[in-house]
Structure formats: structure tokens, C-alpha cells
Subunit: 465 residues, 2 copies
């Protein structure tokens, strides 16, 4: 790594010299620097300016600084070498709040996390070169504050793309660009709460962080059961409902035609809002995915989408298609949340969409995931033939059913101890239910590991049956 | 632009054929496509798959698709050319919600917006090449879901940088990366509200969007007056106070030593939280900036920072330095808001900091802004010698005082009509006050325009005096 030269280092300009009575300038500077190092303002490895530069900025002679630096070196606070900026040494400091945000988990042998794609498939080089082209071509306006609704080019590209691939009916003005589906849900709950909503229904089971997002605004979370036909509409009583019609998470069911009609009828009669998380719609392996609900009832449905599954989560790019009577309030709320989403990534995604890179990548990923899924199902059939696999052929996960009385959390705990990462169905439930299951993702499971992973998993499961 | 070839186009797979009684397949397909085009799901300019591909996906003969396409072409719904995918034509559609999020404003002759830097100074090529290096070197983990607290490399680089340049005392574990200062404020208000806060004090005048962020969670906004010594601490009665000590926005004053001591004493006695928006601290022209308050009382101060002024707003990168007893809750809230901030930009900023690119850019920008400021002050002194310039030599704006009784909003309206963008002080006030003023930014004003801009501005102002 090339080190910055002295001229490139901004001095610690907040340092001021306030000599105590009888204290020399040298002693005052030495004390001040030592206190700053001890307190942790000047941290280990930080480079200080040369004696010339610091002397100038403090208005003292160079000899004063040189002497103070020499004393601090002798005391072990600085490391000084010729022709190089003095560097703060390792100093034991009084009790610092050192805690890591996550305990470091051991690297899993087999990672069956159900919520992530295979990030190694991402065409990183193409993304980077597209970003370069987009940035070099862009006017300087692209570097300034942007529109809260998002970049017009991306909203136009998404309106075309979502219409063509998902049957969504939307003008670019109805689309608001957000930081992934997470921000879309948080934002929408906020808007609904302001409009007087008190109760949001969710699928039970479903992502529990979304339940927290709803409760954070004081709204009640109402769980609706899910069966092989998707969410059960009967008994639905809420101001809004958050659904995953294309591929329910985590059960893997698809909302049936009959249930779609019931859900739309509910929205029409009650005035409730349908929030359609168009989860995994791009990855269906056995047949064409059904049309987005939004395309059937654009006045009653808010559609959410993200590139976290189709490209990578690290981009934090998502969108929200809102009915015309809601979109201005959504935009105003985005302004309060973070003003707007990063511009260059938005423009790069627009280019990815219009040049066909996005479709091409989705097709490639789809065929890879399909192969992995087929292999994994075959291996499970061979090693655990008595356990039913639930969920349609879609996405990057399925549900492995367990016999009644077998604890999915106990199996998941054991699996984690054997460094196999998977999630028990119970983790996603609002209500305790009899039937447990294991939510198994193959997004991160390479084909070459399928056989060994299945054997290891079967060993863990058999010990519980 | 290279058009995608047919094989790269995902078919509109949600289209299904449901022939009505007596309707042929051809007629059904023609009707279905026409309805999709009329409704706006298949939008103008969208390319449809070839007759071969669509026939296959629908399970009909190629002739059926070809005939339907031909009919739609004859009716003006499609444009068909040999060897190219059929394209949806411009079709008048029934009343669409076409509204732009912003009315298009005329391009200003002189842009004196006080809140933005000169984005043309941003070392875009260096940023892009650094991003490439960082991305190519990163492990695939960098593409997956990241830590809500932010990338460890960036938090470590910021702890060093903020300690050295601002005297901030923080472990990397106390730093949470956010989407600009806006998200930091929104997030903090949310945390404070959950902890039972009911009242947040702000400087009067100050950014009004922050007032909205506070009120959005049902908290009261309490304005504290600002004078030449910064916020007035006497009478402060709130659970938290949001301040800009380094360079008050918009008056340009700096919090005096006496007021700093009063504010810290207030926090110590009342247990109130000081939220220090370390606004413009990097750009001080006459002397070294004072140390961040956080470095004096790290247990009582939350420090906020952003690259929106030092680099560019479009990056949406900011940070929040929280006391140890608050940081876990801040991280949990970031998880609810949007899980984490985009990873590659975080890593690029870390590299910018550790390689000295950041300091180098700030120094260069500082000297350019100082020159612009000096020129503009000289021009104002020549053309409007009777109007006082308020605010210390810092940042990218100052306040031009107006005599009592002269309306700053009327002048700003007139200026805008003459395509001079500036903001009246009244726009930032919570309470109406006698003294108006004009908040004038020079971030976007090139030196060559200073003389002409000042003349034009003087003409507008003189008409009101």
C-alpha cells in the first residue's frame, strides 16, 4: 500500500496549546499529545504531521515540536523513523467499549441459508464497466442531490421491464426507488400508520423482521395462515396485508387463482391495501410465473421488488410501485428517510435493464439454480425418502417437512453445531403450530457439494427421528 | 446503443391465452396483446419476443403468433421490421396518472444554493478506479448481506480519521454507517422516541426538513435562538438538542467556548443528548476549526458526519458516532430501516481515507472555496457596501443581512424570477423574526461569474430598499 506523504496529511487541527502555569510550551505540547493518544482521539497507527507542519499550525518553533515528539517517542507513545511521518504507537488505554456487532461464527461447511442468492454468479466485471460508462457519460447533475422518487431513467426502464416480464401496469411516476425491500416495507408501514392504519396482516409463517417493522410504528401484526394455495383469505381483517404471491416465503406455495380472486375482492370491498412483495418471481422452473397482482388491480396493490435476489444484496436497490393516490406521500416519506438513493447505482441498473444484461443474467442464474435444485431433491429423495418436500419449483429454497412431534429447532441447532446452516420453520411463525419443517436454501450450495451436504444433513435429522 | 438480440429478451411470460367462446386462438392472442398494450403493461418501445419464441412459450403454432402480430401491426399497435423484435408502438391510452415529481424549473443563471458543494471538483475518475480496485480485490462476502453497523474497514478508517482531524474519541464499534446525515437524524429521532423522548430542541433558524423528521415521530420541536456565538443555551428544555457547532446553518456562526461549556453542562445535568451535526467542519478558512464536542464528552454526544459536502451528495454516505449505551439500539434500528448501506461504496470510501485521497481533495476544495468566498465578499463590498455579511469564514455559504422591514422572501422571489437561486433566511425559521437575510452559497458559483452575479443580485436587492 502506498502511504500518503506528509503533505497529504491533514494536521490534527483541533489540538490547541494551553500551557498550565509554569509549564513550558514543549511540556504543554507533550502533555496535550499524550492525553489525545491516551484518550483514543489519536489512534494507534495514525500518522502525525512533520515537526515543521505542526509547528507552523500551532505557531511555535520547530524545535518545540521536535523535542515533544522525542519525549513521546522515548515514552513509547510514538514511533519515529527518518523521513517518515511520526506514527502513534500501540498504547494500553483505560477500558474501551470494545465489542463486535456480531460474534464471529465459524465458517459453515454447508450453507443452506434460504434467503440469499449465489453472489458468485453476479457479473461483477460487467457491472463495474457499466458503472464506469454511465458515470463518465453523466452530466454533473448526477453527482448532486437527486430526486427523492429516484432517477427518471431507472424508473422508465423499470416501468418497461416490470410491464413486460410481470404484467405490472405503471407509469414511471408511480415508481419510487428505495434501499431494498426492507426500506420499502418500513416506508410503507410509516405511510399507512400516518393514514390511520392500526393493523397489518402478514402471512404466517413469514419474515419476522417485517413483523418488527410493522410493530415499530405501533401497528398490530395479524397473522393469516398459509397453506398449499398461499395465504388463507377467509377471516382477513386488517388495513393492509403483506403477501408474497409468486412464491410464498418460507413455505414455497404459490397463491392459487381462487385465492387471488378472493384477495382482490377483499381489497375491493374493504378498501384494504395489498402489499405484493414480488419475491422470487424471476425464478420459476416448472412453468411461467403468474402475473403480478398489481397488473390486475393497480389501484389497490403496492408492488415491491429488489435486485437482492436477482443480482446481489450488497447493491441495496429496490423499488416500490404505488397507486397514484399514494405515490406522492411515499415520495415525501423517502425524502424524510434519506432524501434519495445513490445515483450512480440507479443509473447503472437502468443501463443493465435496457441493454439486456439483467435478463441475460436472470436466465443464466435460473438454469443454474434449477440444476442445483434438481440435484438436491434427488439426493434428499435417496437419503431421506420419507420426508416430504413442499413448495413449488421456484426461487432458491424449499421446505422439508418433518413428522409431527419432531422439533425443527432442535434439528437446526444440531445442524448448526455440525456447521450446516439452515433455518427451522418455527423461526418464521407468529403462532406455534404442530408441523415443523426445515427451510433449505440452495442459492449458496454448489452442485459438487450436494451429495455430501445431504448425507451430513440426513445424519443430523435421523438422530431426531 | 446496442440493442439486445431476441434471445436476450425475457418473454412477457405472465400472458396467458383464454379464448372466449367462439374465439380463435389468433383472435384471443390479438385481443390479449392489444389489451396489455392499451392498459400500459406492454409499454411504448418495449420489444416483444419473436413469433417462434412466443409460440413456444404459449404452446401455439408459430402461424398463430405471426397472424396476431400482423393484425396488431395493421392496427398500429406494433412496429414490425424484418429480423428485429416487434416493438410496441405509441398508443393513446385512457387517462394515465402522468405527473412529474417536480415541475421543471428554468436553469438558473446564477446558482447561489447554500447547501451544496461544487460537484465538479469531485475526483470522479479516482473514485471510479478506486472502486474497481476495491471490488476486484474483495471476497464474495462483500456482495452478500453486510453488517448493519457498516463495513469494519470503513468504521476503522473513520475512527482514525475523525480522531486525527476532529478530535473525536471513538472505537470503530461505536460508528454506524448510514445514508447521509438525513438518515442519521431520522434514525436517531426514532431511537429517542422509543426511549421516551417527547421534545427535541433545534437551532432557530435551521434546516426545516429536520424539523419534519422530528415531528414525524410525534415529538415536539423546540426552537432555541441563535446569535453570533451559536445556539443560546439558556432556557434549553428538551430531551435532546440538534446543533451545528462548527458552522451554524444558516447563520454561519461558530459555537463559542463559553456556549460549548454551557451546552456540555446542560447535558451533564439534565441527561439530555447532544446531537452534533459536524457540518462544514472541514472547510474553515481563517483559522483551525475547533474540536468536535464529541471529543470532550463522548458519553453525551452523538456525532453525525457525511461526505455530501466534502465529496458529493450522490454517494449518500454518512456516519453516526454513538455513545456505547446507544450504539446497539442504533444498529438494530438501521436493520429495520434498510438492513445495511451499500457495501462497495463503503469500502471505496475507506480506501479513499486510508490512502490520503480524501484529505487531499478536502485541501484542494478548501483553497478553491476560499478564493471564491474572498472574491464574492469583495464584489458585495463594492456593490452593496451597506449590507453586513454575517458568519465566520467557513463552509460554502454566508448570510447577507438586510435592514429591518425589508422582506427577504420578496427579494428571494424576485431573484428567482431573474433566475438567481438563493434562499431567504425566513425559510429556515421556526418563529417569525424581525431581521431577515439572504443565505448565499458559493459552492456552485465559479469565480468567473462572481462579478456578474453580484451585479445582478445588487439590482434585485436595491429595488427593495
Amino acid at each position: 500500500m502506498k502511504m500518503p506523504t506528509d503533505a497529504q496529511i491533514d494536521e490534527p487541527s483541533w489540538l490547541t496549546l494551553s500551557p498550565r502555569s509554569g509549564e513550558t510550551l514543549r511540556a504543554a505540547l507533550e502533555r496535550t499529545l499524550r492525553e489525545a493518544i491516551r484518550a483514543g482521539a489519536l489512534r494507534e497507527g495514525v500518522r502525525l504531521p512533520s515537526s515543521r507542519v505542526l509547528a507552523e499550525s500551532l505557531g511555535v518553533s520547530r524545535g518545540v515540536v521536535r523535542d515533544a515528539y522525542g519525549q513521546l517517542e522515548a515514552q513509547g507513545f510514538l514511533v519515529i523513523r527518518p523521513r517518515v511521518a511520526p506514527v502513534v504507537a500501540t498504547v494500553p488505554r483505560p477500558e474501551t467499549p470494545r465489542r463486535d456487532s456480531k460474534p464471529v461464527a465459524p465458517v459453515p461447511r454447508y450453507d443452506l441459508t434460504p434467503t440469499t442468492p449465489d453472489v458468485t454468479l453476479f457479473p461483477l466485471n460487467r457491472w463495474l464497466s457499466t458503472a464506469q460508462q454511465v458515470a463518465r457519460r453523466a452530466s454533473v447533475v448526477a453527482l448532486d442531490y437527486g430526486e427523492s422518487r429516484g432517477e427518471r431513467t431507472l424508473r422508465a426502464a423499470l416501468a418497461d421491464h416490470l410491464g413486460r416480464t410481470r404484467g405490472v401496469i405503471a407509469e414511471p411516476e408511480q415508481i419510487v426507488i428505495v434501499q431494498g425491500t426492507a426500506q420499502a416495507v418500513d416506508l410503507l408501514v410509516r405511510v399507512l400508520a400516518r393514514r390511520g392504519a392500526s393493523r397489518v396482516a402478514v402471512e404466517d409463517p413469514s419474515h419476522t423482521t417485517n413483523h418488527k417493522r410493522i410493530r415499530a410504528f405501533g401497528l398490530e401484526v395479524a397473522g393469516q395462515p398459509v397453506d398449499a394455495n398461499g395465504i388463507v383469505v377467509a377471516g382477513l381483517d386488517a388495513d393492509a396485508v403483506l403477501v408474497t404471491p409468486a412464491h410464498q416465503f418460507p413455505t414455497g406455495s404459490v397463491l392459487s387463482g381462487e385465492r387471488r380472486r378472493q384477495l382482490l375482492a377483499w381489497a375491493g370491498e374493504s378498501g384494504g391495501v395489498i402489499v405484493e412483495d414480488d419475491y422470487d418471481a424471476e425464478f420459476r422452473y416448472d412453468r411461467e410465473p403468474v402475473r403480478a397482482l398489481q397488473g390486475i388491480a393497480p389501484e389497490q396493490v403496492v408492488q415491491l421488488g429488489t435486485v437482492s435476489k436477482t443480482l446481489v444484496p450488497a447493491l441495496r436497490l429496490g423499488w416500490l410501485v404505488a397507486p397514484p393516490d399514494l405515490v406522492d406521500e411515499v415520495e415525501q416519506t423517502k425524502l424524510l428517510l434519506d432524501i434519495f438513493s445513490p445515483t450512480l447505482d440507479q443509473r447503472t441498473l437502468a443501463e443493465f435493464l435496457t441493454r439486456g444484461h439483467y435478463d441475460r443474467h436472470v436466465r443464466r442464474a435460473r438454469s443454474i439454480y434449477r440444476r442445483r435444485r434438481d440435484r438436491l431433491l434427488a439426493a434428499l429423495h435417496a437419503h431421506l425418502p420419507e420426508l416430504p418436500v413442499e413448495g413449488v419449483a421456484a426461487g432458491v429454497h424449499f421446505l422439508l417437512g418433518l413428522p409431527p412431534g419432531v422439533s425443527d429447532t432442535a434439528i437446526a441447532d444440531d445442524a448448526n453445531r455440525s456447521r450446516i446452516t439452515l433455518t427451522p420453520l418455527s423461526d418464521f411463525r407468529l403462532t406455534t403450530a404442530d408441523a415443523g419443517g426445515l427451510v433449505i436454501g440452495y442459492g449458496r450450495l454448489h452442485e459438487s457439494s450436494v451429495e455430501a451436504a445431504t448425507r451430513a444433513l440426513a445424519d443430523v435429522i435421523r438422530a431426531h427421528m
